[in-house]
Subunit: 191 residues, 2 copies
DNA sequence: ACCTGAACACCGTTCAAGT
DNA sequence: ACCTGAACACCGTTCAAGT
């Protein structure tokens, strides 16, 4: 039976997890599927689009967020972070896909815009639309960047290039700091 | 007269600015210098190290920061941002170099750690060492991520793939939000 | 010491031709 | 409709051999 885009993406994710982003080539995916390299291009436009598809899979659907907005923001960020950490080079892949897929707004529901749900939550909590977008972007970029650095350090450690001993994980500290900063926007804007 | 590492880096920066990160290959740099590809490897360990060197050049030396800490933090971030925007794909290049060069701490003064000076400033302003590292990292990752997304959107726009009209620049909003969040850490820790 | 020539082991992508 | 074979135009890196 014929190849499908879904099969290609699943196979690509396996290579990513086992060998890393640097070894994720179209030719390797094709070999893994027992197919000629050119065959992939019947199902997938090009490598960039394939990577965006992988990023979408890694990020997944937004969790339902409950409780007061402060803890919902924390939940959102920690959930994104843990999804990124489930795959080798997950943060790096998603960070560049977010930039590439960027036309990120409203009318383009297909965009890779994980912060959209967070933005809506912040509006519901009392933020202006502009502040909510900026605040959601802040949490998103912080999470992607911090996780990317953390993950690449972790991979160095696995290779024994230990560098400085356990760099304490400052993710939660940074996250709280951002949530604190949001407080003003919510209470200021609320009537 | 012989080639130097400095010459190679300068030549690489020109290619970056004119053709972008995707076209920045060792072979192209060599051609630009009128030299065989292998010649570069006498002066530079490999492409990764060369990219880290470029990132160091782009980031440059820390500006002297003055005034109250709140405005110094703003200065720091805006200065980093404008340096990233001076080069095509500057944010993307520096973001990945920061992750790659990571063993980022103390004893390794050669690391690409632009947030170090910011961390010292925050300690001087009254933060604990741990909070200062986390806060500086937050500003750094936010700045890299936001600028990377902004820059790639800007490049799409140049190609006419306009996507959504002028997405308003939420950099300053996000930055203020983070600075607000820092306030608590400074005043809480201060005696 | 510094560089060339030439090779090795790869890439992404296209496209006629087959089934 | 879906895939193969084969090509095109590239990569990063190594290393004997030259000067």
């Amino acid at each position: 039976m014929p190849l499908t885009a879904d099969e290609i993406e699943r196979s690509a994710l396996e290579i990513l997890d086992r060998y890393g982003l640097g070894d994720l080539s179209m030719r390797r995916i094709a070999t893994g599927l027992g197919v000629a390299p050119g065959a992939l291009y019947w199902h997938v436009a090009n490598k960039q689009q394939l990577l965006i598809g992988l990023a979408r899979r890694i990020v997944g659907d937004p969790e339902p967020l409950d409780g007061p907005w402060q803890s919902a923001v924390g939940q959102w960020a920690r959930s994104l972070r843990s999804r990124l950490l489930e795959h080798r080079d997950g943060a790096e892949l998603v960070a560049s896909a977010v930039a590439l897929a960027d036309p990120v707004d409203a009318d383009h529901p297909d965009a890779l815009a994980p912060a959209a749900s967070l933005g809506r939550l912040l509006v519901a909590a009392g933020m202006s639309a502009g502040d909510a977008v900026a605040a959601a972007d802040t949490v998103l970029h912080f999470t992607l960047g911090q996780t990317m650095a953390w993950q690449s350090r972790a991979q160095f450690r696995e290779l024994g290039i230990t560098g400085p001993g356990a760099v304490s994980d400052s993710f939660d500290l940074g996250l709280e700091l951002i949530i604190d900063g949001m407080q003003n926007r919510v209470s200021t804007t609320q009537r």
